[in-house]
């Protein structure tokens, strides 16, 4: 807010105040310096500005306050985030070369701003932390290592080879997409940075970590980050993590404070749930949970551990023990009365499923207490929607009160639209209630959310009114037109799943051979929209629809444009359908020239998937049978053999593997 309003002085004042406490060693206070210095806090999640907008706001700040450490530090931090966005969040092996280049260029910018930030402050602990993160995550830039070696960094080596140049340009384009440009590297390191020891060159994170810890030996945030980057996925291991927590850098923390770091470590193991029949591993998990809970832990950490433990107990079917742990957590949350004692929905969902769906007796009103603890944060739609429904109907321990319910729903919808909360919660939460036989509450919640144009809840309403959920919808509630109305509404609001459902279950419910041109056009348009939105599953439907009901031109387009993509679809259902339709196309010339040989080959391929496929069997047999029609089809193929070979060579027609003209 302040950033948008360009109240930079107020911001600096806030940072300065919080830093005083932080430097004094109060690193666990809620909404402290760590919290303030995060990009998440800096931008109101409700605003959810795009990265480009955030960048513009921070650039303005840097421009307005060229001597601001925090402005440069946060801008550097944002460029790290952008580097991550460009890289993507898949496995390293799946990242394309151009994305690697783009990410590295963004990282370079980040380092330049962070080095600049270091020159502007005497205690740039946060900038050091950011550089440590970069060294752990994206590796330090070569030019930065060169500076430490006392060498002058070389400018970017732009490749001259055309292919490599194209990849480079694509990488730079990624950077430009966020408004970035190649920057020149600093000629020297910030004054006062100590030289590196030989063993600090191999792994830069050690150097920056030590710098950060020199600034504040109780810098819990940096230690937390450092432990995280010792996860095996970052080429560390659990042994190293334990040694780190017991090591010299964490010595300034108390045993209870170190408990938070142990929790980070153990999460790597505990979050990986064993198979339910792997009793040894389950026992090992339980032992680890108990060991962790036996450690001294700060209340908010213990609260978090208890929640996760309860969730695990629920997973292995120990519902009573699970409930007990949730109850202990609820007591602890109320007793410690500190911020941070709330659960994310992924934890609370376990308790909710038990109480709401399975009817577990919540004698101690644990669900209510834990949900209501999170409501004041006003940040999670799942809890807000649950609380609203609970209050509306007086269910699950919530006192019946309608006042404020609308506000809770409105905020929940707002957050859902901002991408907060669990995915598909607009559908899943009412469904959970429905499955727990709270039919009215489920219908009410779905309607409330839908009225605010929350599209997932519209799909839930579609299923409720269409009798598609369990338990079955009572006849008085069933309402087919209303179901279709909500589905159409969700589709109109752009929900791809709704569009696909509308096409498959309403418009093309009787098959792809559509006589009603209006219906055909509507279905075609919806499928094209879905395809444009990036949902590949529509391609198959569009191909079937155009082949059976499209004009000649549309059939040709479907054959020429859609088939090459479908041939690479590994879904067996797609392959089977494709074989059937291509057999039909080549037999009847729907969008491609007639070739009985190709039709027969595709029919044979379709029969490999389903030997009872009558149409494919008919096509296969009609061209191979020694009948008059069979002979004619062979004569036709013989005459057109040369043409067919040409078409195959030019990929104008498609043949199954092993086909020879």
């Amino acid at each position: 807010m302040w950033l948008r309003e360009q109240r930079y002085e107020a911001l600096e004042q806030l940072f300065a105040e919080k830093r005083v406490r932080w430097m004094a060693g109060d690193v666990f206070c809620s909404q402290g310096y760590n919290w303030a210095c995060s990009l998440y806090t800096l931008f109101d999640p409700m605003e959810t500005p795009a990265l480009q907008d955030k960048l513009a706001l921070l650039k303005n700040w840097v421009q307005a306050c060229p001597q601001s450490y925090h402005a440069h530090m946060l801008l550097g931090e944002l460029w790290t985030e952008i580097a991550g966005e460009i890289r993507g969040y898949g496995w390293a092996s799946t990242v394309t070369s151009d994305r690697w280049i783009g990410a590295r260029l963004a990282r370079d910018i980040s380092c330049i701003y962070l080095l600049k930030a270091i020159t502007l402050d005497d205690s740039p602990g946060m900038a050091y932390r950011s550089l440590m993160k970069i060294a752990s995550y994206l590796h330090e830039p070569e030019w930065l290592v060169d500076l430490f070696k006392g060498e002058t960094p070389l400018p970017y080596d732009i490749p001259s080879d055309p292919d490599e140049r194209a990849v480079w340009d694509a990488g730079v384009d990624h950077l430009r997409q966020y408004g970035g440009e190649l920057m020149s590297f600093p000629k020297q390191l910030p004054a006062g940075l100590p030289p590196r020891e030989p063993h600090e060159f191999e792994d830069g994170r050690l150097y920056w970590l030590q710098r950060a810890m020199q600034i504040n030996p109780r810098d819990y945030g940096t230690l937390h980050t450092a432990v995280y980057y010792l996860y095996p996925r970052w080429f560390g291991d659990h042994e190293q993590m334990a040694a780190f927590i017991n090591g010299p850098l964490c010595a300034a923390l108390s045993e209870a404070e170190r408990g938070g770091l142990w929790w980070v470590k153990e999460q790597d193991i505990l979050d990986d749930y064993p198979d339910l029949d792997d009793t040894d591993d389950i026992d090992a998990h339980l032992r680890l949970w108990k060991k962790l809970l036996a450690r001294p832990l700060l209340p908010h950490v213990r609260f978090s551990v208890l929640g996760s433990y309860a969730k695990f107990l629920g997973y292995i079917g120990c519902n009573e023990e699970s409930y007990e742990q949730f109850a202990i957590a609820a007591e602890l949350g109320q007793a410690s009365n500190m911020a941070g004692t709330y659960f994310n929905p992924d934890v609370l969902e376990q308790l909710a499923a038990s109480v709401i769906k399975d009817g577990f007796p919540d004698t101690r009103q644990v669900l209510y207490r834990l949900t209501i603890a999170a409501v004041p944060r006003n940040e999670d739609p799942w809890q807000l929607a649950l609380a609203a429904t609970g209050h509306q109907f007086g269910l699950w321990g919530f006192p019946r009160q309608t006042e404020g319910v609308d506000a809770l729903i409105a905020r929940a919808v707002e957050l859902i639209k901002a991408g907060e909360g669990p995915r598909y919660m607009g559908y899943n939460l009412p469904e959970l209630m429905w499955q727990g036989h709270h039919l009215k509450a489920a219908e009410w919640l779905a309607n409330q959310l839908a009225r605010h144009d929350e599209t997932e809840s519209m799909l839930c309403l579609r299923d409720i009114y269409n009798n598609a959920l369990y338990p079955h919808t009572p006849p008085e509630i069933c309402n087919q037109p209303l179901s279709e109305q909500w589905l159409r509404r969700a589709a109109a609001l752009g929900l791809t799943r709704a569009k696909l459902s509308l096409v498959r279950h309403v418009l093309l419910a009787d098959g792809y051979d559509v006589e009603d041109r209006q219906k055909f056009e509507e279905a075609r348009q919806l499928l094209l929209d879905i395809l444009e939105a990036g949902d590949e599953s529509a391609r198959r439907d569009l191909f079937y629809l155009l082949t059976l009901s499209g004009s000649e031109e549309q059939q040709t387009w479907a054959h020429d444009t859609l088939v090459p993509f479908l041939l690479h679809d590994e879904d067996p259902a797609t392959q089977q359908g494709l074989a059937q339709y291509l057999a039909y196309i080549y037999e009847n010339g729907k969008g491609a020239p007639i070739s009985y040989a190709l039709a027969s080959a595709w029919a044979k391929r379709a029969l490999e998937f389903d030997e009872n496929d009558g149409l494919s069997r008919h096509i296969f047999q009609s061209s191979t049978r020694f009948t008059c029609a069979g002979m004619l089809s062979r004569i036709h193929d013989w005459i057109g053999k040369k043409e067919l070979k040409k078409s195959l060579a030019a990929s104008k027609v498609y043949a199954p593997e092993g086909f020879e003209a």
């Binding site: 020891e197 030989p198 063993h199 600090e200 191999e202 792994d203 050690l206 970590l209 030590q210 450092a226 190293q240 334990a242 040694a243 780190f244 017991n246 090591g247 010299p248 850098l249 198979d275 029949d277 792997d278 009793t279 040894d280 591993d281």
Partner: protein, 694 residues
């Protein structure tokens, strides 16, 4: 026949006293006939049958038929001839690298050979070769299965000649000639030679596999192990007989000295000489030094020998040391480590501290029991048969001059230079890898430890590793001494740190301190027992406490015997083994089933049990017993044609690629027959991984 069957058969023959049983020789003769009949008969058939056919056709004026069949006939005869030639070409690799010596090259050597040959009435040598191995051996190549006599080749290893005295070397030669002379039994001597012939032939065929010699390979893979097992006791008896004959002409004491010196120089070369040669890989990117020439000088060397450092590398070491030094204890420059010095062999036997080491080595060699991988008995048994002390014999004298110097004269240097050159070429790739590892790998490891030290709780083991890295990087003693002390501060019972500090103290002559550290190491870790007894014996010897030294050595022997027995038991799966239930959970069995699922089609049944070694129950491990899926016919066929049934071999090959998730050591046992002893012994109730589907 697997290894267990092989050993079982030998033990059986030993128990029967087969070596002295005249009737047993007929059995061996039958085996020999079988071998010759199979190979020779087939070759003869290939050659004679087409020849007879040609003669018959010519005689009956069917010349056109001969003309038409000429290709087939020539091919068949050619194949038969190739089979005959196979016996002549079965040289092994080491034989291809040797160099022939003539009388003019080494007249003294040939004079000695003549003398020994005459004394033992051994047949004349066909050729004398020299190579770079520490060995000596005579090989008899039969001419038409000994019907036309044999070709007798003597191969001498230059390093053996360079490290033994003339008398000791003469004893070795006499032993070899005794094998040739056959005075201890012509038949045993022939069998001894035939063992070599068949083995060489099998190795040769395995190295030159082709479809044409497949039938011969299959036969030999079955025949050779059986023949070896049957003749093993004769081979061993030949070794004892050869020792006795050698002792008769050389003297018991000299023969015993030769045996001891041969073992000791082997240890000296393995543990002292070659490691120090390769130690220089840290400074020299290419093979440095002339090891064989050095050996020439080292026998009588006056001074300890070190290889000079290449100037530019010395500079690197200096700057590198500067770069890696730490602020506190590690401020001194890396220094030349005294351990790079190679003490001459003669000095080794004379200096008090190295003499103590040699005494221990000798005792260790004497502690090795006789095994079944070689017909040679162990040193202790050979000494015993000569009537010598085997508990604490005196070290053999070094002699004034090496056998090589005396017998080869100036030729020794020529040969040494040639072998140096060859060694440099051969070892270059390995040397380059070692150079890279020592210069990059160990520095990286050291830096890793420094990084760890800066951020993580540094355990006693870490301090110990740091000390090792500092030693590798030639840091001053004070630096790694400090690291070792830190390790002990954190864990006063850290056995490797105690052991290392003990060794340092021993090197510096602080014997009391060394003894205390060794004691502490043993207290913490019983696995240090062998080294402990060794080193305590060394300390006692250096202090002049002979009785104490003897006691330590005997304790060492007892410990080693136990280890040997355990190791032997661990390496074998036998029907006499003790098996126990696996103790695994259902989930672990399910996981095993999944892991083995890829070979399930090849397996009819599989079980898992625990083997409890009799010698140490704590070392229990899992045995996965598998039975390949095979029909009655293939099982029957396999017993006749292969050493191992091909299905079992295939099963083993498939298992190589499978790693099982078991919480400890495990091994596979592939049963080739349902009546297999292990299969019958294994408790099957609840132990199945896969059940039979039949």
């Amino acid at each position: 026949m697997n290894h267990s069957d092989f050993i079982r058969r030998i033990k059986q023959l030993e128990a029967m006293g087969a070596a002295d049983d005249q009737r047993f020789q007929w059995r061996i003769a039958a085996w020999l006939v079988l071998g010759y009949a199979y190979v020779g008969g087939f070759a003869a058939l290939m050659i004679l049958l087409p020849s007879a056919l040609v003669i018959a056709l010519v005689m009956s004026h069917h010349l056109f038929t001969v003309f038409m069949l000429k290709g087939v006939l020539f091919a068949t005869v050619g194949y038969g001839w190739a089979l005959v030639k196979v016996f002549k070409t079965s040289r092994n690799e080491s034989e291809e690298k040797r160099r022939q010596l003539t009388r003019t090259d080494a007249p003294a050597l040939f004079a000695l050979l003549d003398t020994i040959s005459n004394r033992l009435q051994a047949p004349a040598l066909t050729a004398v070769y020299i190579n770079n191995e520490r060995n000596a051996g005579i090989r008899q190549l039969p001419r038409l299965g000994f019907l036309l006599g044999s070709r007798n080749e003597l191969t001498l290893g230059l390093p053996l000649m360079q490290t033994l005295s003339k008398d000791q070397f003469a004893a070795v030669l006499a032993h070899e000639f005794a094998h040739l002379s056959g005075s201890h039994g012509k038949f045993a001597s022939r069998v001894y030679a035939m063992r070599q012939v068949w083995e060489n032939l099998e190795q040769h065929l395995q190295a030159h596999r082709s479809w044409a010699n497949a039938w011969l390979r299959w036969f030999l893979s079955w025949y050779v192990p059986h023949f070896n097992a049957e003749t093993f006791v004769l081979g061993r008896a030949s070794e004892y007989a050869a020792d006795r004959m050698s002792a008769d002409i050389i003297g018991n004491a000299t023969m015993a000295h030769a045996l001891m010196a041969s073992n000791l120089t082997g240890r000296w070369l393995r543990d002292e000489f070659w490691p120090k040669i390769f130690m220089n890989a840290d400074r020299h990117p290419e093979p440095a030094g002339n090891p064989f020439t050095q050996l020439t000088k080292l026998y009588k060397g006056i001074e300890a020998h070190t290889i000079p450092v290449v100037p530019h590398l010395a500079q690197d070491m200096h700057s590198w040391g500067n770069a890696t030094q730490e602020a506190s204890a590690e401020t001194a420059q890396p220094m030349e480590h005294a351990s790079r010095e190679i003490h001459p062999w003669q000095h080794f036997l004379e200096q008090p501290h190295t003499r103590a080491k040699a005494t221990i080595w000798l005792h260790e060699e004497l502690a090795v029991p006789t095994g079944y991988s070689d017909t040679h008995p162990c040193l202790r048994d050979r000494m015993k048969s000569l009537g010598m002390d085997t508990v604490m014999p005196d070290l053999p004298p070094a002699g004034e001059e090496s056998a090589a110097g005396f017998l080869l004269g100036t030729m020794e240097m020529t040969l040494a230079s040639e072998m140096d050159e060859h060694w440099r070429q051969e070892v270059a790739p390995y040397w380059a890898d070692k150079h890279a590892y020592l210069n990059e790998g160990r520095l990286a490891r050291y830096h890793d430890l420094l990084r760890k030290k800066a951020t993580q709780a540094f355990s006693a083991q870490n301090w110990f590793d740091l000390a090792c890295a500092q030693i590798e990087l030639a840091y001053p003693t004070a630096a790694y001494h400090e690291s070792l002390q830190q390790a002990l501060t954190l864990d006063p019972s850290h056995a490797p740190a105690h052991h290392k500090l003990g060794r340092l103290a021993l090197e510096d002559g602080r014997l009391e301190e060394a003894a205390t550290h060794f004691e502490a190491a043993l207290q913490s870790d019983p696995d240090f027992a062998a080294t402990y007894y060794d080193l305590q014996a060394q300390i006692a010897l250096r202090q002049g406490h002979l009785e104490a030294s003897r006691e330590h050595l005997l304790a060492h022997d007892r410990f080693l015997e136990k280890c040997w027995a355990l190791q032997q038991e661990m390496n074998e799966v036998d029907a006499n083994d003790r098996f126990a239930p696996h103790g695994l959970s259902d989930y672990q069995i399910k996981t095993l089933r999944e892991e083995l699922s890829s070979i399930q089609p090849q397996i009819s049944q599989a079980w898992i049990v625990k083997k409890i070694p009799r010698n140490d129950e704590r070392q229990a491990y899992w045995i996965v017993v598998l039975q390949p899926r095979m029909s009655v016919f293939t099982r029957w066929l396999g017993r006749f044609h292969y050493l191992h049934h091909p299905y079992a071999v295939a099963c083993h090959a498939l298992l190589c690629g499978i790693s099982l998730t078991l919480p400890g050591y495990y091994r596979y046992y592939v049963a080739e027959h349902p009546s297999d002893g292990v299969m019958r012994k294994v408790p099957k109730e609840g132990m199945a991984i896969f059940e039979s589907r039949r």
